[in-house]
Symmetry: C2
Subunit: 253 residues, 2 copies
């Protein structure tokens, strides 16, 4: 093996600096800047991981397919991409991973199907991403729920969950939106109150929190919104991978 | 920020050593041990990347969906997982990525649809994984092609391709099999001749070569074959992610 000379060393150091401004760094920066608690979730053997949420989590999954660790059952969004890394990186942990996101869901709809779609699976790690429809459908589809509805429904759901599954490890994703074909400037700052509510809830329920808004905002420095989420709500492939990498950042070892 | 003490430093160093035996290291080891040329593919702006192959590449893609960078069009196998990383890591490169793998294909079937499924897309980076059916269907389904058919068809296909697209960057994956519900000991060492042919072709056509067999063999040290490819041919989610990570290893910057 050839020993690298000084020039090569400097080139490598310089590449390292460039790489430090890449996607992983963009994500780490978002976590560092966010004022949530940056809690990490330890991943033990035999964990049962469940992804819950709306269309962003659903991501075209085959809803009639109830198999564990199944490609079609996991959809093709961030939940599947994160699962692929979890299963690949932890071949000796015997993880069981499910996705039960359903397109269009608001918090109260999670509550309606919680017994069947969460408790029956007996998750030990539960990841929830919910909130964009609680705001969007109020704005667009005449949904009557308010910020208070969102906050109260979310807390009641987690109270019930913690009571039934006291040792459950919880990951809460920040609902997010960027300007796009479905999102205009009128969303802001009103939507921010929903995001703050999600973060407060994460902190008070001792959940890991993923600051997706800040992560997408940082990503906009690299490419326009169309690249990450054309309609402003639903991530592209690149956006889904961004989310998966951020999600994995909450997992410790 | 607290300066880490010696104990913490040693713990971190020790963690580093453990991580060195993880999936990325397993893959790098396979590349290092393999006697192919370890060529790397530089990824420029505006590359058009095409994945070609059989069911392993196909992986349930929506074949009537011809959109570029589209989740359903890419399936849910290694091609999609590699695409997610490519698009996420290179937001400023304007990559266009397609999958045209078709389940059951042997080399001659690639040839039959090459005009439509390859030349029309004008790829600048072409990834091919083909060969397991050339062997399997001969063994099981009475296909009359031999090792010589595989080698000659593959070379003729690449001759035609290089003539039409002289600047094309080529990635060739090694066909692989591990013991599973569809693969028994009688596959070996006969199948190895097909793998050697693929490697020789990769070397003589100046292609990057992915030593998938060695990678899966190394992965078997971490978990049984059922974990990586239950039938011995079609990868699980963990196996698909293993392949994607290996595929990405052939891409330089």
């Amino acid at each position: 093996m050839k020993v690298p000379g000084r020039r090569s060393f400097i080139q490598k150091a310089s590449m390292g600096t460039l790489m430090a401004l890449s996607i992983p760094q963009l994500i780490l920066t978002a976590f560092a800047e966010d004022d949530a608690k940056n809690k990490k979730i330890p991943l033990a053997k035999n964990e049962i991981v469940l992804f819950q949420g709306d269309s962003i989590t659903d991501a075209g999954r085959a809803r009639e397919n109830f198999n564990v660790n199944d490609q079609k059952a996991l959809g093709n969004g961030y939940a599947y991409l994160a699962t692929a890394d979890l299963l690949n990186d932890n071949p000796q942990k015997h993880l069981k991973i499910y996705n039960r996101g359903i397109s269009g869901n608001k918090v109260y709809q999670l509550t309606e199907r919680w017994e069947e779609d969460t408790f029956k699976l007996e998750p030990t790690v539960l990841s929830i991403l919910i909130g964009v429809n609680d705001f969007w459908h109020m704005k667009k589809h005449g949904y009557s729920g308010t910020l208070e509805t969102y906050r109260n429904d979310y807390k009641a759901l987690l109270d019930k969950t913690k009571q039934k599954l006291p040792d459950l490890k919880l990951i809460i994703g920040e609902p997010f939106a960027i300007l796009g074909t479905a999102v205009d400037a009128s969303w802001f700052p009103a939507f921010k109150e929903y995001q703050e509510a999600a973060k407060e809830i994460a902190n008070s329920y001792n959940a890991a929190f993923i600051p997706y808004q800040r992560i997408f905002d940082n990503a906009l420095k690299l490419a326009p919104g169309e690249y990450w989420a054309p309609d402003g709500v639903h991530p592209s492939i690149a956006g889904a991978r961004l989310m998966a990498t951020a999600w994995l950042e909450t997992i410790k070892g």
